[in-house]
Structure formats: C-alpha cells, structure tokens
C-alpha cells in the first residue's frame, strides 16, 4: 500500500501483536505449566517481513514475549544473530517457487546451522515461506527439529489442541493435554 500510495482507512497489524496484547490484558490466559516437566526446547525464526522490513524490533519482541510465556523462559533459546539482524531462511522472495532448489538450500545452510546451534526441538516459524523452507532444509541436512505454527503452541498451552491439529508436533508433545 505504501509502495503504490494506495489510500486506505483501516489499520494493518499482525496477529502476533494481538496475541501479545491479549496476553498482557489477561484476555488470553496462557502459561508454560504444560512444559515444566517435559522441557521441550523452542527457538523462533524471525521472518524478514516482520523483523528487518518492519523497521523495528517491535513485532519480533512481541513474538518472543508470547513464545516465552507459553513455553517457559528457560525453554526458549534464541538464534544468534536475531530479530532485526536475523538471517533470512532463504525461502522468501519467491525462492521456494523459483526453480533453483540447489542454490536455495545452500542459502539456507546458514539458517540450518543457526537452528542446530540452539539445540531446539521446535522452531516456531510465523511465516509460511519460512515454515516451508525450514522444514525442507531440516530434511535435506538431516536436522531432527520440528517446525510449528505459533497457534499450535498457544492452543497446546490452553489445553484445547485437538488430536487432528497436531500434524507438526513431534512424539514428545503428540499426546500432551489429550
């Protein structure tokens, strides 16, 4: 809208900012009790569009607030570098459909190494391009992490994640709260 100067009356916001707001306001009552004993480790992928390209760390800081709230601060391991200075996963800009898989995977090796260095069991990727690419490089380079949507973990923490909504969970979390 900015690029083409298209006038609009509405405000544009990400769901991540709303999750954070709802948790702060107490409307979304979630905590990390479910993960106390299990201790599943999580990291996040900062999508370029909501990190660097948004011009600030606001959204990705909200992302960390939400993730730490639902998985436990002690179970969150950040990548280095991160947030506005993150490495792109290599799936964006159309790369997943550009027809150069060999180059795309070579590009993604940095992201793969970053994720492996965190030792996390789960990568929360709040962008479909990132999600697809991080899954693909995980399979390609032999990583054993799982890539999950943020809403999956929110509902897991809320105790309302149905058995049909667990496609992306590993065996350690597949039965939690059922």
């Amino acid at each position: 809208m900015r690029k083409f100067n298209i006038p609009h009356k509405f405000e544009l916001i990400t769901i991540i900012e709303l999750y954070a707001q709802w948790i702060r306001e107490g409307k979304l009552k979630v905590n990390s009790d479910w993960n106390k004993e299990i201790g599943a480790k999580f990291t996040v992928q900062d999508p370029c569009n909501i990190a660097r390209k948004s011009g600030s760390n606001k959204i990705v800081d909200d992302l960390r607030f939400v993730v730490k709230t639902v998985v436990g601060e002690e179970n969150f391991i950040d990548t280095v570098p991160n947030r506005i200075n993150n490495f792109c996963c290599g799936g964006g800009g159309g790369a997943l459909q550009a027809g150069f898989p060999e180059q795309r995977r070579a590009y993604g090796k940095i992201k793969y190494d970053q994720i492996m260095a965190t030792g996390a069991d789960y990568v929360i990727a709040p962008c479909h391009n990132c999600h697809g690419q991080i899954e693909d490089i995980g399979h390609h380079y032999g990583g054993n992490y799982h890539v999950v949507h943020l809403w999956t973990i929110l509902c897991l923490a809320m105790g309302c994640l149905a058995d049909t909504e667990r496609t992306y969970l590993g065996p350690d979390l597949a039965e939690v709260g059922l």
Binding site: K9, I15, I84, A95
Partner: protein, 239 residues
C-alpha cells in the same frame, strides 16, 4: 602506457533506469567494503554477491546482470542494506532486475502463483467460493467435535466486523485443520472478526514476480473491499 579508464564514457543504462525509479538508491556511494557480501547468505551462489552486483552495475555490465539467475536466489531480505554504511538499496535493485525479464520468461512457479492470485484471489488457485465452503465446513466440524467450542463463529464478509483476517492459502487448500487453533484463540478472547472473500489470501507472489501491475491490482481490490464493503477498521495479517 596504460590508459586510465574514462568513467564519463561508461554506458550505465540499467543504473540510470533504476535510479529513475529509486532516486535514493545510492549506487554511486558504494565503498566496496563488502559488508553486504559478508552477511549475505546468497553470496557465492551463481558466482555472484551483492558487492559484485553493485560493481557490475556501476560499470554498466547490464547484460551480465540481467542474464544471471542470482536475482531469483536473492530473497530481497534486506540484510545487505541494513549493514551497508552507505544505505545502498540492493533489494530494490534486485526487484528492478527481475522486472527487466519479460514477464513470461520469469520463473514458472512464481508466475503461475501470481496469475492464480489475480484470477482467483489466492496463489493456490482456490476461488472465494471454495475458500468459503472450506472454512465454514471446518468450523462446523469443530463446533460438533471439539468440547468448549460449540459456539465458535467463523464468517466470511461479515460487514462491520472489528477486524478482517487474511489467511495463507496453504491452510484452506492443503491443511484446513490448521486453521482451527487460530480460530480457537480468537474465540477465547472474544475477537470480533471475519474473513474477506476478495483477495483473502495472505501471500503475494506478484510482488516476488516483480509484477507491479499484478501486485497493485491485488492490493487495490483488497483495500476497496475492506474499506467500502466490510468497513472494518483493522486488518490482521495472520503470518
């Protein structure tokens, strides 16, 4: 005697053309420090890197630049520009190089997704009727089978909702059950929301294709629908 290169004789058509569109792209300010290249995951792919690209641009090697497939490996992530001490706009340069390729010669996967989006409202080609059918069907299943969500409300084009949500087309098309957890969160907080039937999908492959016209069309249709028909004050990007 070695003759010095006379810079004023350089033919830099591509550079001038891109600078016309992005006057503050700063290509002439490159110090060749290589900070961009050191931090770019696409460095070395197809024998190219951001610093080399700017050198080639400034030397007028237009044909080589346009011919290189590197423009499709670079994801326009912007890390080079963030690190650049001279704030050179390399991502927008890439966009404009993509734009130099005839539309029908751009990668078929991206082209196909862009065309589908213009035609149907989503890159995966699901028309608004299919989208509406799928979300209402999944919502009905949740109301029937998931305890505590008997009152779950999912609507398309509900006028006056406080927020309009987009949805990546991957969910309704390939994994509809993944929408459930999102709706449950919205339901729990009592959000007043709806999906738009027009350009409902969150992705935009026309932007990746460097198809200005297609990109603009998708955004305009969406804005008109939300502002004039749905009249919602908030649009929420769900990814």
């Amino acid at each position: 005697m070695v003759e010095a290169i006379k810079i004023d004789r350089l033919d830099v058509e591509l550079k001038d053309e891109v600078l016309d569109k992005i006057p503050d792209a700063n290509f002439d300010l490159c110090l060749t420090c290589g900070t961009c290249t050191g931090g770019c995951p696409a460095t070395e792919q197809f024998g190219m890197d951001p610093r080399k690209l700017i050198r080639m641009l400034n030397f007028g090697m237009d044909d080589e630049i346009i011919k290189s497939d590197w423009k499709w490996v670079c994801s326009m992530c912007g890390r080079c520009q963030l690190a650049c001490p001279m704030n050179i706009n390399i991502p927008k340069l890439i966009f404009n190089i993509r734009n130099k390729v005839p539309r029908d010669k751009r990668p078929r996967g991206i082209l196909g997704s862009c065309d589908q989006h213009i035609r149907t409202g989503s890159a995966m080609g699901a028309a608004k009727e299919d989208f509406e059918f799928t979300v209402l069907d999944v919502a009905e299943e949740i109301r029937e089978d998931h305890a505590g969500f008997e009152d779950l409300e999912v609507t398309v084009d509900r006028v006056g909702a406080q927020m309009v949500l987009n949805q990546n087309s991957r969910e309704p098309v390939t994994e509809p059950e993944e929408m459930g957890p999102l709706w449950k969160v919205l339901h729990t907080v009592g959000a007043d929301w709806t999906y738009p039937s027009v350009m409902w999908a969150g992705e935009n492959y026309c932007m990746f294709l460097a198809d200005d016209e297609g990109w603009k069309y998708i955004i305009e249709e969406f804005v008109l629908h939300v502002d004039n028909n749905l009249k919602s004050p908030l649009v929420v990007n769900t990814e």
